[in-house]
Symmetry: C2
Subunit: 333 residues, 2 copies
């Protein structure tokens, strides 16, 4: 099961029998709108707070994934989820709605792949038959908590990123049809001393590189093994840095197969600065767009490396630098 | 591995080869002072913030556990940890110090047993040889974040509890000498509609009961199987409610073997209202006191049910009730 230092190889190849992506109005105008199961016109989702709206996104993603898998909540043994809200309330309140035994996780925007890695481990080790893994973020709720309420109209530098309003969920099972999770590499915390919360991509790039290198070293394979290698939410600045660092370290990933969920999700004319971010970014792009492409036969083997900036507003105020992490999951048809 | 609906039975019985508990000045005056590896006279631990002090507690607990196990950080594959701070910064910054691949978790005060359950799963399924599981809390950091800065001198009702300043960590391995983790029951979120953050014990009691019942149902054993059954931090109010609920549901636990970490940790004359709480409560009592008693031969089989109140200050302000959860881990000599 453990290969090398930090990679799990899932011998039974757990199956993602169904998945779902739910988004907001800005994602509905984005480049991947067709890959969402539900798109909301109202950023409030009819709720009286943005936090409750985020919970609604995650509830819908989980319920849609369960329905698409022709299952009932009662058939699912465990729900694994994380999000950016303090005390991951989007996940815990969704766990209350689902009523399924719950493992709360936190890896900031890496949560989507931390959850999928753990769900696959549970299924592979026969600790569960069915597990739902999920993650969510909401642009306005995240801005309010981490930076300023959007009503304040604060200016942002071009290195800043746009938190995705969206949630993704996958139903992982021992048997069935669908893309299969073949391995996962759990990342270390890497902190290069960067302190600018408006340039998360640059802060997270070395963590992504560390995990990508560990993945290929542990499995002793080459990047050409994959049809697509997608980082989570490095955006244009961080993704370029990650590519350069990998080149420098002698692990060249052909640029035509190296992308970033934060670069895929929005259209070029949407004002998202350096690209998309948030737990919902890699979650919706993976559980929607990428799995759809696999099912269409366009992609056979992919590696998703979700990246997370593990700061809090308080650690930033206390002049701490930004510790970062990345978890990689490989999915094959 | 999965037995019943939500219980993992670890066939290889992962070993806690070493563990450590670190506490603050108030814990040094407590009933279990002798069971701590390190006790600090200074609630600041020489740091310039209480959050950094909490990180120091957790770092010391992890490093002490690793040293007691005669291991090096490099030998450990994974670190699993959670705490109460926003974005679990105590755990993520400790993960930065350790440099070990990291799985961040959040289950509020249930995090200690969520982490031990997952660590045991990793070891049992050969996904790791050595895993460190940890959890921490700091009284002043928690008060500041969840209620009021202590300088404000706010009054508290007798149902309130005292957040433990402490951290506990255990080193879980495939082989070796020491207490063995035999099973874990992962809890569901239970919310009975209670909204009073100064009476967490009452809010969490039904979640503890739900998990305890699931544990005995899934394993088809009786409470008398255990020498001690300890809830995490229900305190005097919640623990009495849990006992009454269990009696009513027909699952009588003899009172002489039924206790609560929050009732054990402090002396009767310490002004802790209904008892101790926080991630550090079940973490220090389990990784210190209870494991020490097992090694001395006083206890052969114990069940620890760590309880967590999954609210955030914001969910409380938005008039949400308090979702609660409990995870149980059984440890045998």
């Amino acid at each position: 099961m453990l290969k090398g230092h930090q990679t799990w190889v899932f011998e039974s190849k757990p199956v993602i029998i169904s998945s779902a992506a739910v988004g907001g109005p800005f994602e509905a105008q984005g480049a991947l709108a067709e890959d969402f199961d539900i798109l909301h016109e109202d950023v409030w989702l009819g709720q009286d707070s943005f936090e409750k709206a985020e919970k609604k996104l995650l509830e819908q993603a989980c319920e849609t994934a369960i329905n698409k898998g022709k299952m009932k909540k009662e058939d699912v043994q465990f729900f694994i989820s994380g999000d950016l809200m303090n005390q991951i309330i989007s996940s815990t309140f969704t766990a209350r709605t689902l009523g399924v035994p719950f493992l709360g996780i936190f890896g900031a925007c890496s949560s989507a792949m931390e959850g999928l890695a753990l769900a696959s481990l549970l299924v592979d080790s026969k600790a569960a038959k069915y597990v739902v893994a999920g993650a969510s973020s909401h642009n306005v709720a995240a801005e309010k908590q981490f930076r300023y309420p959007t009503e304040y109209g604060g200016q942002k530098p071009p290195t800043a990123q746009w938190t995705v309003t969206g949630a993704g969920a996958g139903l992982v099972a021992q048997d069935g049809d669908g893309p299969r999770v073949t391995s996962a590499t759990i990342g270390r915390v890497v902190d290069m001393g960067l302190t600018d919360p408006f340039n998360m991509g640059a802060a997270m790039a070395p963590a992504a590189v560390d995990t990508i290198e560990a993945h290929f070293r542990d499995l002793d394979i080459k990047p050409s093994y994959y049809d697509l290698i997608a980082t989570g939410d490095l955006g244009s600045v961080g993704h370029r840095i990650a590519g350069d660092l990998l080149d420098k370290h002698g692990l060249k990933i052909p640029r035509e197969i190296f992308t970033d969920c934060g670069l895929l999700i929005y259209k070029k004319d949407q004002p998202v600065m350096a690209g998309g971010s948030g737990c919902g970014c890699s979650a919706t792009v993976t559980y929607g767009h990428l799995l759809n492409r696999m099912k269409k036969g366009e992609l056979k083997r992919i590696l998703v490396i979700a990246t997370g900036a593990l700061l809090s507003p308080l650690s930033y105020q206390q002049k701490e630098s930004i510790p970062c992490i990345a978890h990689a999951v490989s999915i094959e048809m």
